[in-house]
């Protein structure tokens, strides 16, 4: 039979019988060591446990079923002992007793010794139980199909309500169930699956695994492109391969409903962010002149408008704005770092946030702000929703117009951080300096796009080339100084510069070429450079 009588390729074990949707209550009385043995067939003994026992030799790898429901006098089970012994001698793997059974210790010991799973089913008619177990063992796909049909019907009644969806799936699988979102939110039935969110978020495709003895089935919600942002997780202790197979299919089915919920949630988060963004835009574009209505709405969102503010701009190193799930995850990490900020709000390709203090002296200066911010950025970058980012801290400024001013200052600092450091850099705008001239250059999307296009051949050829070029320019075109900064031999730098000239078809001795490439290198994304602090 090759362990797959039903033809699904997934073997059925006694442990599966604990988890499959059988009528009545199934419990293990003994022989736990035999729960994972494969069942190939069902041998029902009928109402008189002995009537067919001797005439049916084909017990190999069987689940033997005895109906004792009409014989409560046998519930202390010397007959069960004898059946266990027969199962042992004839190679059966499980003994299923239908009816109230309270076996003596000796019976449980015997099942343990023979490694024969001894299960009792109560609360259902014997004929029904025998029929269902037979279907479950011989045609497991039927049981699965039935469950899926029922589940599909139930899911249509959930109207996108995640708690109802969770309850329906959990009940169908008799398991704990949860939906994990990328920003760390977990919704599900109590008790929640114990598998950690970090483990769940690593799944890129559906999986069913045994994790520390627990059956964990994960279904990432499909997205047209990119990585999953939502996962369905089902978990239960006692179940076999057949249950895992069934649960995988059930989660795949529930995925549709959850996907609808996830999309709606994403839209809602985006809408909230847009409201904040709209207020901020109005403030900045109005040059700090605001009306009563604006004040009311800002107050409703918890903004402290009239105090003194310190802005923070967080900017992704790679292309593309920070979207709602990422903003939610970022907010979570900033709070976790003890930073009590308004925001973050999606702002100019990154995220804006600010500290507000009530009095003219503003928020208390935080000596460890850089460290906390850098820690939050690192945590965010490492999170499932995270991306590599840098941050800039603006100069303090007061009043409603001060919010706009400090955010502008923070953005300038963030752009400097982008150009001067790598991922995780936190820069503060301490004011002044000719570097401010370059801010407009750096902040131009056209320029950044052109720079990326220009340098892409280098990045695609060898990771070392762009850093070598940057080191060369930063060292005032000194090959020797660049080699020292990079920790390589001078000839290596010479060799790399020649390759760069070849790849880009340029001549580095030309001053215009040098200036253009220097500017381009400044805005090209760099690998992680630690929690470096760069002052302008």
């Amino acid at each position: 039979m090759n362990g797959a009588p039903g033809g699904t390729g997934t073997p059925v074990t006694a442990r599966d019988l604990l988890a499959l949707p059988l009528p009545g209550r199934v419990q293990t009385l003994g022989g736990a060591g035999g729960l994972d043995r494969v069942l190939d067939r069902v041998v029902p003994l009928g109402a008189d446990p002995g009537s067919r026992a001797d005439s049916d030799p084909a017990w190999s790898r069987a689940a033997v079923m005895a109906d004792l429901s009409a014989r409560p006098d046998l519930r202390h089970g010397h007959v069960v002992d004898l059946l266990l012994r027969m199962c042992h001698h004839r190679g059966a793997h499980a003994l299923i007793v239908v009816g109230e059974t309270a076996p003596a210790l000796v019976t449980r010991r015997l099942a343990d010794r023979y490694r024969i799973a001894l299960l009792a089913v109560t609360g259902a008619a014997a004929a029904t139980v025998i029929g269902e177990v037979t279907v479950a063992v011989h045609h497991p796909q039927v049981a699965t199909a039935r469950l899926l049909v029922d589940l599909a019907r139930e899911l249509t009644r959930c109207s996108g309500d995640l708690e109802r969806i969770s309850a329906v799936v959990a009940r169908a699988l008799d398991a704990s169930f949860a939906v994990h979102a990328l920003d760390g939110t977990i919704t599900g039935t109590s008790p929640l699956p114990r598998v950690p969110a970090g483990v769940v978020a690593r799944f890129r495709s559906p999986a069913a695994e045994l994790v520390e003895g627990r059956n964990v089935v994960v279904q990432p919600v499909s997205v047209p492109v990119g990585t999953p942002q939502t996962w369905l997780v089902a978990e239960r202790d006692d179940a076999g391969p057949q249950w895992r197979d069934m649960a995988s299919r059930a989660l795949a089915l529930a995925q549709g409903e959850v996907s609808a919920w996830a999309t709606a949630r994403r839209l809602r988060l985006a809408e909230e962010d847009r409201t904040h963004g709209w207020l901020l835009t109005e403030l900045v574009e109005g040059g700090g002149r605001i009306g009563e209505r604006w004040r009311e709405r800002a107050a409703a969102l918890g903004w402290l408008v009239d105090g003194r503010h310190v802005g923070v701009q967080i900017q992704p190193v790679d292309e593309g704005p920070l979207e709602a799930p990422a903003l939610a995850a970022l907010e979570d990490r900033l709070r976790a770092a003890g930073l009590d900020l308004t925001g973050p709000i999606g702002w100019r390709g990154g995220a804006a946030a600010w500290f507000s203090g009530a009095g003219p002296s503003g928020p208390a200066p935080r000596a460890d702000l850089r460290d906390r911010l850098a820690g939050a950025l690192a945590a965010f970058s490492a999170s499932p929703a995270g991306r590599p980012v840098v941050a800039g801290v603006g100069r303090p400024s007061s009043g409603p117009e001060g919010i706009a001013a400090t955010l502008e200052s923070a953005r300038a600092a963030a752009l400097r951080a982008l150009t001067r450091g790598g991922t995780g850099t936190v820069a503060a705008d301490s004011g002044g300096g000719p570097g401010r001239l370059l801010v407009d250059w750096y902040s131009s999307a056209d320029f950044r796009g052109e720079a990326a296009r220009l340098l892409r051949p280098l990045a695609e050829t060898d990771d070392a080339l762009v850093p070598t070029l940057a080191a060369y320019f930063d060292a005032a075109a000194s090959v020797t100084a660049a080699a020292r900064a990079l920790g390589v031999h001078r000839n290596t730098v010479m060799h790399r510069l020649r390759r760069i000239e070849d790849l880009l078809h340029v001549d580095l001795s030309d001053p215009d070429t040098r200036l253009a490439l220097h500017l381009a290198v400044r805005v090209f994304p760099r690998p992680f450079a630690g929690q470096e602090f760069v002052a302008l």
Binding site: P72, D73, H76, H78, L82, V106, R109
Partner: protein
């Protein structure tokens, strides 16, 4: 199946081999032996021993006759009490045994007679001695059960076709009840049904038959056997090293040494008590005992090693005393012995009458097959 034949000295005592008298000094050994043959049931022999002691002290020893010692046409009457042994503790026997026998003999025109112990296992062995003493009648060295059974029809006499009726029940206030009938099951059922009205137990005289019938239908040598078992047990009790020799000497099979792990009491649905015994590492075998009023089945790791009408004796490993069904407690260290059933049961093919099926362990035979 090892049979009674392990008992060379005690088997089928020929005429003249039987101990001729039972005296006060014999009662302790008789009680011990009867307790062993009770298979965990049969009532407390100490009560019966005290009662017999008083009778023998007042009236002298009882004559013990082999089944061949009686003329063929003499009458044999089985005697004992029927009912709950717990009630015997509450209401001690007095003259009702003699009343029951006399009433029955009156019905039979007072022929010359001898008494047959109804049940050698438990208190009835001693009450038969007391009855013989009170009536100044000879006691047959035999019995009708070979151990203890819960019902009066579970005898080798029934299996041999001897009628239980006319049977007389008597209680101390002089009330007697005579049951007549052809069908032993029916008569026994009526006796059982009347016991509650008679106070839980009654003295009974029953199975009147000719001596030549009793010679083949009763289990011979039972009283001498109980005496010998009691004596051996007492002697072996002093020294644990003598115990294996004791088992061999009485023809018993040593089944198990271990500790009581669980005692599952009967309930309304499941009438049997189930005891789980576990032996020490490394073998760690388990022995299952199923019991009703007496121990009925023993199974070692699922394999049956003793079944009623074998005697299953459970002895305390410390004191080497015989333990009743109700005396087993978790963590008690015990030894379990099988004393093979008398061959008469196999000869009469009496499995339906006294085997597991007769004790609501019915589906056993069909399920078990050859073990």
């Amino acid at each position: 199946m090892t049979a009674w034949g392990f008992f060379p000295a005690l088997q089928f005592p020929a005429m003249g081999e039987t101990q001729r008298r039972i005296d006060v000094a014999d009662l302790a050994d008789l009680a011990l032996g009867a307790r062993l043959l009770g298979s965990g049931g049969g009532g407390r022999t100490s009560t019966g021993a005290a009662f017999a002691h008083a009778a023998l002290r007042d009236r002298g020893p009882v004559r013990l006759l082999g089944t061949r010692d009686l003329p063929d046409d003499h009458t044999v009457v089985a005697v004992g009490v029927a009912g709950s042994s717990a009630f015997i503790e509450e209401r001690l026997p007095s003259t009702e045994l003699a009343t029951a026998v006399r009433t029955l003999l009156d019905l039979l025109d007072r022929p010359p007679f001898a008494l047959l112990p109804l049940e050698i296992g438990g208190v009835n062995a001693l009450l038969a001695v007391a009855a013989a003493s009170m009536l100044d009648a000879p006691l047959l060295d035999a019995d009708a059960m070979g151990r203890a059974f819960p019902r009066v029809e579970q005898t080798s006499l029934t299996a041999s076709g001897v009628a239980v009726a006319p049977a007389v029940l008597a209680v101390p206030d002089g009330t007697t009840l005579t049951v007549r009938g052809e069908d032993n099951l029916r008569v026994a059922g009526l006796i059982g049904a009347n016991l509650p009205a008679l106070g839980g137990w009654a003295a009974t005289a029953l199975y009147p038959c000719r001596a030549d019938v009793a010679r083949t239908a009763a289990i011979p040598g039972s009283v001498s056997r109980a005496l010998a078992l009691g004596r051996s047990l007492r002697e072996a009790g002093a020294d644990p090293h003598d115990r294996p020799r004791f088992a061999a000497s009485i023809g018993a099979e040593w089944l198990f040494d271990g500790v009581v792990a669980e005692v599952l009491r009967p309930d309304r649905a499941a009438p049997h008590l189930v005891v789980t015994l576990e032996s020490a590492l490394p073998r760690q075998e388990t022995l299952r005992l199923d019991a009703g009023d007496e121990f009925l089945l023993a199974a070692l790791d699922g394999r049956q090693v003793a079944r009623v009408p074998d005697v299953i004796a459970v002895l305390s490993a410390r004191e080497w005393s015989v333990l009743g069904v109700d005396a087993l407690r978790p963590r008690q260290p015990v030894s379990v012995l099988r004393i093979p059933r008398p061959p008469i049961w196999d000869r009469l093919a009496a499995g339906d009458l006294v085997g597991p099926g007769a004790h609501e362990l019915g589906s056993l035979d069909t399920v078990a097959g050859p073990s």
